[in-house]
């Protein structure tokens, strides 16, 4: 069905792209054969580091004409194999398209190329007293990747997710045409929102070449509270009660002692407190310190009545760094603690999160397998890791399958969904099918077919 990529194709690519940005088989770094889901490995036939939309358009025109599969990749920090070239062919790497094109201070937007890193974007807008609220843990991800998975992050509970901050997207369609979906407007009732179809489509419908993002004024104050509890149960039971106070925290993160100790070991740095079994980390932001104090005092008092040991302030850059650097390293630390692992980022309604985490603990005991987790207790999105810990490969595969089956079934029973922010990619296809059912998968396939009738863009992903 696809035309195998041959020397003629390579010669053509080299005729339109600077040769030092074209990597053929044998010279492609192994990094480009996988993403952070290290179990799925497949090399593309050619890797092209593109510099602009016109180059992408020219590549797509050729690939479309010849029926060559194309996979787009940013930093490769995905966790579900979404950026792996399953069918080989061409891989387009957007990391050189890393320019911030325009800061529009009248419309409160910034226009960027897709390869801009999240950390660079955040630093840039903050220098200008502006704020891009989505805050996924992986700061070295590209904004293109964030849009493609509709990444959420730690501030979702108050500010929403990536989708809520996309005003417009310039894309290259599979046939090479360049289109802009949406515009720099606040309201939009102008037909189907094609822009919203692209967000979260994991590079299967079109290639994002430019994005205009909505910004907010930078809140001048931000204070976090680290609240230790003697037991996991107490910490989790406190979450819905905290949310009922309507203090509108920016983040409510849950972390266990085990996860903190892992991260300390990994970073070689101590967390400010590690004596207790479970912790909640809450952030409050705004422009009025008194009102923030009022909010966090309400929450701290409530937590103390619900059995918290204390509530510690995180109010300076140094304190924020000491806490958030540990929080930011959780995933890498869990990875380093075991020989192999797989992850699940289910999302359940906010009021079900405590029950769900408790279930993962039960399941861990039942299956005799370590299942550490951490996550956004405030928005119902959890990151759960099933660890191999030196287990025999066959037994591990069997236990992993059992664990995932049960985890996704439990989420479904609670009206949860398969992925909160990591996407479906290749690894979670089966669970998406089971969760959404035939009708919805069929609609998704039809949408894919409208955008990409030759199925050349990132084939084998999401609904395929």
């Amino acid at each position: 069905m696809y035309k195998p990529f041959d020397n003629f194709d390579l010669a053509y690519i080299k005729s339109i792209i600077d040769n030092d940005r074209v990597y053929e088989k044998g010279s492609i770094s192994s990094d480009f054969s996988h993403d952070e889901l290290a179990t799925l490995i497949k090399y593309p036939d050619v890797l092209i580091k593109v510099k602009n939309a016109e180059e992408i358009s020219a590549i797509m025109k050729y690939a479309y004409e010849k029926s060559i599969p194309v996979t787009v990749r940013g930093s490769g920090t995905g966790l579900v194999g979404g950026a792996v070239a399953l069918e080989g062919g061409i891989m387009i790497n957007t990391s050189l398209m890393n320019q911030i094109l325009e800061l529009d201070e009248k419309n409160f937007t910034v226009t960027v190329e897709p390869g801009v890193l999240l950390m660079d974007l955040a630093a840039y807008v903050e220098e200008n007293d502006l704020f891009y609220p989505p805050d996924p843990g992986e700061k070295s991800a590209t904004i293109g990747g964030n849009i493609s998975t509709n990444a959420g992050g730690m501030r979702a509970i108050k500010y929403g997710v990536t989708r809520d901050y996309i005003r417009s997207l310039k894309v290259v369609l599979p046939n090479g045409d360049i289109e802009t979906f949406g515009s720099n407007v606040v309201k939009n009732s102008s037909g189907y929102s094609l822009k919203d179809l692209i967000i979260g489509s994991e590079g299967t419908l079109a290639i994002i070449v430019e994005a205009t993002l909505k910004l907010l004024p930078l809140p001048s104050e931000s204070i976090s509270l680290l609240v230790p509890f003697e037991t996991m149960q107490q910490a989790l039971d406190a979450v819905p009660e905290i949310l009922r106070l309507k203090t509108n925290p920016t983040a409510v993160e849950y972390m266990s002692k085990e996860t903190i100790l892992n991260s300390e070991k990994f970073l070689g740095k101590k967390f400010p407190d590690n004596k207790h079994d479970a912790y909640l980390l809450l952030t409050f932001d705004g422009n009025d310190l008194n009102s923030i104090e009022n909010d966090y005092s309400k929450v701290a008092n409530l937590c103390l009545t619900l059995g918290a040991i204390d509530a510690y302030f995180i109010d300076t850059d140094e304190r924020k760094k000491s806490v958030w650097s540990t929080r930011g390293a959780f995933l890498e630390a869990i990875k380093a603690s075991t020989d192999k692992m797989d992850e699940c980022d289910v999302v359940v309604p906010k009021d079900k999160i405590a029950d769900y985490i408790k279930y993962t603990h039960q399941l861990s005991k039942q299956l005799g397998i370590r299942i550490p987790s951490f996550g956004h207790a405030g928005d119902g999105n959890l990151h759960i890791y099933v660890c191999k810990d030196g287990m025999d490969e066959n037994l591990w595969q069997q236990k992993l399958q059992q664990a995932f089956d049960k985890l996704y079934k439990k989420a479904e029973k609670m009206n949860g969904l398969v992925s909160g922010e990591h996407g479906i990619g290749y690894a979670k296809k089966q669970y998406l099918k089971e969760s959404l059912g035939e009708n919805q998968i069929k609609i998704m396939k039809q949408i894919k077919n409208v955008f990409d009738p030759k199925n050349i863009l990132n084939p084998g992903k999401i609904c395929q």
């Binding site: 407190d273 510690y312 302030f313 300076t316 850059d317 140094e318």
Partner: protein
């Protein structure tokens, strides 16, 4: 063990602007915080207090607003605080500051150990600690990365860049604590609720409380130096791209890191 920790209130951000005409730091609208290096000294003091069943008193010299950092230290676990504050102390350079602090410490009985941070993030001189010890005629050491109680002495480790020294020091003494050697504990909400404005924990010392009543030894009059000009250093961000084979690039990188003394 009766421990004193010297702390200072500094601007809350490293991007403080300097008035180009007067050369004075523009502090309006800039939040303040405890000097980050002092947090490591305070944490060291609190750990020694726990091991020796002792007491930590924090001392700060500054305007009334500096009460905030003393309160913060009490929320972190310090027992008492002293704010040295008087218009007569204004305009003090490192010498007059160290003298004033030594006079205040002189009024406290049975001091075993004085801890300071390595330096402040606003003045950056790193001189007030050692000068205070000299005025008090106490043994002192800097760049301290570890302190252990050894009978009636302290055993400390000092990182002198080219060598690391482990030594014992008799009490009373003063140690300047290096940064990043521990993870300072966080201020406690429970202690904030318990101590509130810390009226019973913090006392204010003014010129009248000092043994030396000669005004010429304090503030601007007691200063040996005067700041002529403060200006912001030029900030530069360079990006260097290495090219070549993996081996060559690794060698080049190693050389650069060595040249710039990162390794």
């Amino acid at each position: 063990m009766n421990i004193i920790v010297c702390i200072k209130q500094v601007p809350g951000t490293s991007n403080v602007k300097v008035d180009p005409v007067t050369g004075v730091l523009i502090r309006d609208g800039v939040q303040s915080k405890m000097n980050p290096y002092d947090l490591y000294a305070l944490e060291t003091g609190l750990q020694l207090k726990e091991k020796s069943n002792g007491k930590v008193t924090v001392i700060s010299m500054g305007p009334p607003a500096a009460l905030a950092v003393l309160k913060e230290a009490i929320y972190m676990g310090a027992d008492e605080g002293i704010l040295i504050s008087d218009r007569k102390f204004g305009g003090a350079d490192v010498l007059a500051t160290a003298y004033t602090i030594s006079q205040a410490i002189n009024t406290i009985d049975d001091v075993d150990l004085i801890l300071t941070g390595k330096q402040t993030t606003d003045g950056d001189t790193g001189q007030v600690g050692p000068e205070t010890a000299e005025f008090l005629n106490l043994p002192h050491f800097g760049y301290v990365t570890n302190v252990e109680i050894k009978n009636d002495k302290l055993q400390f480790i000092s990182n002198l860049e080219t060598k690391v020294m482990k030594a014992n020091i008799t009490l009373p003494c003063l140690l300047c604590i290096e940064g990043e050697i521990n993870t300072p504990r966080l201020p406690s909400y429970k202690r904030k609720v318990k101590f509130g404005s810390c009226e019973n924990q913090i006392k204010i010392m003014s010129f009248e409380d000092m043994k030396d009543q000669n005004e010429n030894n304090y503030g601007l009059k007691g200063s040996a130096t005067q700041v002529e000009k403060i200006f912001q250093p030029k900030k530069t961000t360079d990006r260097l791209v290495l090219q070549g084979t993996k081996e060559q690039m690794a060698k080049d990188l190693l050389n650069i890191l060595r040249e710039r003394k990162f390794i």
